[in-house]
């Protein structure tokens, strides 16, 4: 049985603006649970969730685990170093084995684009994509959007620029889909060697210089620069990247208005973002992390069949949620 989101959350591309708003609205009451002394409600009591991480992750996995535990689900973490292929078991066999254990949900992180969809098509459990290759990272996109909404209210017409390695970023793709669906104006800024060649067809503005992006934007979402991009020859050096594309205090000081700085983490201080920006007044980076737990609680709750209007009640501890399923 599936809720208002369908069976799975694979990406923001397949969601409507209303579905995205539903998740964000559902996250609102869940924010407060994390502020309590006893951070637990029984909404997903009796549900079993597997966190299947084929790729290293600290932040996302912990965030999901807290979200699951605060909803009283039983969780198991499976960390497979490297891919399933290197372990000798194929992803389809992994999927079948999980299914045989009668689990309710799988949160999957995998280095291959499409891995979450692959799994979702082969098992009946709900599947949540916690990042697949360079495709999508929908809960990150949602928490970024929730953080923006906290500051801006309605995102319609708001000018958001995503900076850095768009080519390899699943965070960028989820943000572009989600923000476009909520009516924001979206731009990207980065070296052309780190933008997809087809970026013109994404429905975004493109800035070649970060100074232009800062002049235009009301918020910058600064992406992490993966070190392997240098060794693969996409850009010459981290030093030059910081000189040309780094978000520095000097550059921000020239912004015409107030500007919000987001970063999905983990940060390379002194590369894509300078410390005094990350720790400065513009930064909402830690608010993003806090929102991450609430957004993931909302996604888990809705996919489990929880009624959005009961999220407030679920928060109160009435235990509605999975039990509501037909």
């Amino acid at each position: 049985m599936t809720g208002t989101l369908g069976k799975d959350l694979l990406g923001l591309e397949s969601l409507t603006g209303d579905q995205i708003r539903l998740i964000l609205d559902t996250a609102e009451p869940f924010k407060e649970i994390s502020e309590r002394a006893i951070k637990k409600v029984p909404a997903l009591r009796g549900s079993t969730i597997v966190n299947l991480f084929f790729e290293n992750s600290t932040r996302t996995r912990i965030s999901f685990e807290f979200a699951e535990k605060r909803l009283s689900a039983d969780t198991v973490n499976v960390s497979a170093s490297g891919s399933s292929v290197s372990k000798g078991e194929t992803l389809v066999d992994t999927a079948r084995n999980l299914e045989a254990m009668r689990i309710d949900m799988v949160v999957i992180r995998h280095s291959a684009s499409g891995a979450a969809q692959f799994l979702a098509e082969r098992i009946q459990s709900n599947v949540i994509n916690a990042g697949d290759g360079t495709h999508e990272h929908p809960t990150q996109g949602l928490l970024d959007i929730l953080t923006l909404r906290d500051r801006f209210g309605d995102l319609k017409g708001r000018r958001i620029c995503i900076c850095g390695d768009i080519l390899h970023s699943r965070v960028a793709r989820s943000n572009i889909w989600g923000l476009n669906k909520l009516g924001a104006e979206v731009a990207v800024c980065g070296p052309r060697s780190l933008l997809p060649n087809a970026i013109d067809e994404f429905g975004v503005k493109i800035f070649d210089r970060v100074e232009e992006a800062i002049e235009w934007a009301e918020a910058l979402n600064v992406l992490r620069l993966q070190f392997e991009r240098m060794t693969a020859g996409y850009i010459p050096s981290a030093r030059e990247y910081n000189r040309v594309f780094g978000i520095t205090r000097e550059r921000l000081d020239r912004a015409p208005g107030d500007i919000l700085i987001l970063h999905p983490g983990p940060m390379n201080r002194g590369v894509e973002i300078d410390s005094d920006v990350a720790d400065g007044p513009h930064s909402v980076i830690l608010a993003q992390v806090t929102n991450g737990v609430a957004v993931r609680m909302a996604v888990l709750y809705l996919l489990a069949g929880g009624k959005p209007e009961l999220a407030e009640a679920a928060k109160g501890g009435s235990g509605r949620g999975r039990e509501d399923r037909e």
């Binding site: 291959a112 692959f118 699943r170």
Partner: protein, 441 residues
Amino acid sequence: MKPILLKGGTLVDPSQGLNGVGDVLIADGVIKGLGGTIAGPKEVDVIDCAGLIVSPGFIDVHCHLREPGREDVETIATGARAAAAGGFTAVCAMPNTDPVTDNQAAVGFIVRQAQRAESARVYPIGAISVGQEGKALAEFGEMVGAGAVAVSDDGKPVASAQLMRTALEYARTFKIPVIDHCEEPTLSVGGSMNEGIVSAQLGLKGIPAEAEEIMVIRDILLARLTGGHVHLAHMSTKGSVELIRWGKERGIRVTAEVCPHHLSLTEESVRGYNTNAKMNPPLRTAKDVEALRVGVKDGTIDLIATDHAPHHYDEKEREFADAPNGIVGLETALAVIVTNLVETGHLTFSDLVDRMACGPARIFGLPGGSLKRGAAADVTVFDPKARWKVDASRFVSKGRNSPYDGMTLVGRAACTIVAGSVVYRSGIPARGREKVNRTRG
């Protein structure tokens, strides 16, 4: 061997400008009589061909039969029978076997296995370089002596321009084409589909059209330099068509082939991470498909070849980037072309027969390609109107990896005759060239 009388079919043979109803008499492995009403001898197998097209046998110059090395996914015998079921009387087997078909003994093995299969003819293609490693030239002369009809490092691009130059020069002695898989390897590295909006959205590394086109123009220029015959495999882009046209206008000895999938599908088929839409070169855009259709019509592209590439279903049942390249094509090629090019008005049946039978025979110097009296009786009879739903689980090939599985297509082989023997007939693949009546259990 009993003579065969093909009765009342429409004879389509562009090699002699033939297009009209008539009979064909086959005896002693050759065409004995052609056109009009033929009475035939007393002892004769009459095959009613009313409503069917009778043409020179189709020849596929590009397929992968996986033997030796991967007999679990295809053998020369199953591949030859799959070819016959698709209306092909002959196929050319690419040398990327394990071990690589890069010497006369390996070529001889394929020839012998093909004889044992007693189905469609199989012509070996030898490797350009020893081990397909792109370094030392393989022994073309000895391989040709053993039965090789061309050389190619297909699957691996010939990265070295110097090696390609030498191959084109050296192949002239033996009058064989050098087939190149055009791919600039440093530009395509890590790519698993066409580079464009779909790859950007799916988060898959793309292969730009230029990776093919850079090598197309390199090969054309090397053919001009050497006077050798370069044959460009599986062309997939609009730019390639334009470059080949440029070369042909200048009289350079360049020929080219296109696959049914590149004439009918686009990169959109990859959405959903469909590994049965993954091949190399990848499916491109609608503009490329249109340019290829125009090119195959005006003769810029000389012929249609399948690039039949069977894989085990386990290998395709995985993450897209890790899945192997290639799809099976022998049993769907005719129907894909009829459905997507003839029914849409891009090609006539005469064009189809030229690009699938006469052209391959002409360009590769192979027997067949004509129904002339005295020619080898390699004949394809097909139903141009048959509607059928592709069911990959019923393929004669061991491969099931087809993007057309489940689609309804038009056009199907009715009878395939090799050297005067029926090797396939309407859903019942005969096992041997002599054993017409054997049915499958």
